[in-house]
């Protein structure tokens, strides 16, 4: 760990190891306006897709006993609107913006990133392969190393900027997918995303989410992220961006020790909009602590 409290990522030096995770920070605009971006190395945007998506029917957020289920459905205004309205506003952000990209077909990722190249704003991209591959019967892209490699290759071809491939913990092998992303030319992998989860009301027998299953996040999942960050970072040379379960400064240091280059904070940001500042301060002060026996 860098004793000078600098973290280098994609050739840039940051005074914080914290990235704000996709889907929990919008495009950073709301946080910027309230001065809540202090302490964040970069913001990762809500998923951007080719066409606008209204998202899933409510409820979209269900709190469980020890975590959160979400079923947002990648709601976003689509690439045209993102380019026209959101990115120009995001030019004022006090930190870089990474655009998270999703698609329903392998080609959609490439097309969206080609379009994003029109804007000077993005610092890089995060390619979310945890979504269902509509062309292949709904199987998650990320479940197949071949498809992960193919998407990485296609994105690499059109992107002048670095990109991370955001892997899924739910299907396939995260290790093989990480290697495939690297082989395809990815500049990082994000490990990982929400876990498939569900809540059923036993009295009615009904699922609380309309689509039955959703993405589950919880501070209790941290050990799952640590394991996956460790396994992937041992096997590949590109940086690993950790995502999942962080709500304390210690969690960030643990993920960095496990092999992460940078650490994302998602769910906890919804609880604490100034999480980046608070957690960064915690990290720095822990690093300054005299070594205990």
């Amino acid at each position: 760990m860098d004793k000078t409290h600098k973290w280098t990522f994609w050739n840039r030096e940051f005074n914080s190891p914290i990235l704000l995770a996709s889907g929990t920070a919008g495009f950073g605009l709301e946080l910027m306006e309230q001065g809540f971006l202090e302490g964040a190395a970069a913001v990762i945007s809500k998923a951007t897709t080719l066409k606008p998506r209204v998202g899933n029917p409510p409820p979209r957020i269900i709190e469980t006993r020890f975590g959160l289920l979400n079923s947002i459905g990648l709601a976003n205004p689509g690439i045209d609107e993102v380019l026209k309205t959101l990115l120009p506003q995001a030019a004022d952000l006090p930190c870089p913006l990474i655009i998270n990209v999703a698609g329903e077909t392998v080609e959609e990722f490439q097309v969206v990133i080609e379009r994003l190249e029109e804007s000077p704003v993005p610092f890089g991209y995060e390619v979310n392969v945890s979504c269902p591959n509509v062309a292949a019967g709904g199987i998650t892209f990320g479940a197949s190393p071949e498809i992960v490699e193919r998407i990485s290759t296609l994105v690499k071809r059109v992107s002048s900027r670095p990109f991370s491939v955001k892997l899924t913990p739910n299907e396939g092998s995260i290790l093989e997918s990480a290697k495939a992303a690297e082989a395809g030319g990815a500049d990082a992998v994000t490990v990982c995303n929400t876990f498939l989860g569900m809540k059923v009301d036993w009295r009615t027998g009904k699922a609380l989410l309309k689509r039955n299953v959703g993405g589950y996040s919880s501070p209790a999942l941290l050990p799952l992220t640590v394991a996956r960050v460790f396994i992937t970072s041992e096997a590949i040379c590109i940086p690993v961006l950790a995502s999942g379960g962080v709500n304390r400064a210690e969690d960030i240091l643990e993920l960095l020790a496990a092999g992460a280059a940078m650490v994302q904070v998602g769910t906890w940001l919804m609880r604490r909009p100034d999480a980046a500042r608070e957690l960064r301060e915690g990290v720095i002060s822990l690093l300054k602590e005299p070594v205990r026996q």
Binding site: G23, T24, A25, G26, E30, L31, E33, Q34, K46, V54, G55, P57, P58, P59, R60, I61, I62, E63, R65, F66, G67, L68, N70, I72, A75, S218, P219, A220, N247, T267, W268, L269, M270, R271, R272, P273, D274
Partner: protein
């Protein structure tokens, strides 16, 4: 944080200066808040209360700002689950982190107002009534134990068990309402109740009706897309930053199921 450039949102620890069970299972908490906070509050806005000092429950809980004074705000809430239970047990003198004021409140149009509230839907009415010309409030509840009081506003009540006012549902009160004597209507309550009320309104009244909505929330400040309310014409509104108060005709009443 939607209208942030105009509207400053504050996240700070607020001391509970009073906590009272005003009706069985219904509590009122008065928080001391800084002046800049007070200055931003408009009737219908809400706060996100961090009920836990711990990891769980993970998210905050949204509550309408019920009334405002020089250095404090009040919320009125019913115990329905874990978060509200923890909140009801937090002692006077302790502080909790509050994010707010959040969202868009009522358009405070001039002229006479009619308030229609079901159960705790009326929680926001005291603050609203203090800022408008409130001519009449119609309040329905399961029983008198669940009926809030709207200071300074003539109130007609109806209860399901007849323990206060007539016995029946709020819609039973609407038959005799002289709609044309009001220039604004505020409506808040459970979605099935609001649907019934909207169904009974003459069309021109819908246009002057503002609805205070609820949705399960993630962030509360517009970032997570969690708090959807179906929008007339398709798509969704964000309860937290497009609302929680909406013109009645901007909502797709057909698709809206509310919270259950």
């Amino acid at each position: 944080m939607r209208k942030a450039k105009e509207n400053r949102i504050i996240d700070s620890d607020a001391v509970i200066i009073e906590k009272k069970e005003i009706l069985p299972g219904i509590h009122r908490i008065t928080f001391e808040v800084p002046l800049p906070f007070i200055n931003e509050v408009e009737p219908g806005m809400f706060i996100q209360v961090e009920v836990s000092h711990d990891s769980f429950p993970v998210t905050r809980r949204p509550f309408t700002i019920s009334s405002i004074s020089g250095n404090s705000i009040e919320i009125i809430f019913e115990i329905v689950g874990r978060g509200t239970e923890i909140l009801s047990e937090t002692e006077e003198g302790r502080s909790l982190r509050l994010l707010g004021p959040l969202g868009r409140g009522y358009r405070l149009n001039p002229g006479k107002w009619l308030l229609i509230g079901g159960g705790l839907g009326a929680a926001g009415f005291p603050g609203l009534a203090a800022s408008i010309d409130c001519d009449l409030a119609l309040l329905g509840a399961a029983s008198r134990d669940k009926l809030l009081i709207i200071p300074g506003c003539e109130t007609i009540t109806i209860t399901e068990d007849g323990s206060s006012g007539r016995k029946g549902l709020i819609t039973d009160l609407l038959e005799t309402v002289r709609w044309d004597s009001f220039s604004s209507v505020a409506l808040c309550g459970p979605v099935p109740m609001m649907k019934a009320v909207i169904g009974m309104m003459p069309l021109p009244v819908r246009v002057i009706t503002q609805v205070s909505s609820e949705a399960r929330m993630g962030c509360g400040w517009g970032a997570c897309e969690g708090c959807s309310v179906p929008k007339a014409g398709g798509g969704f509104l964000k309860c937290c930053s497009d609302g929680p108060v909406f013109p009645a005709d901007s909502i797709d009443w057909e698709r809206w199921e509310g919270i259950h």
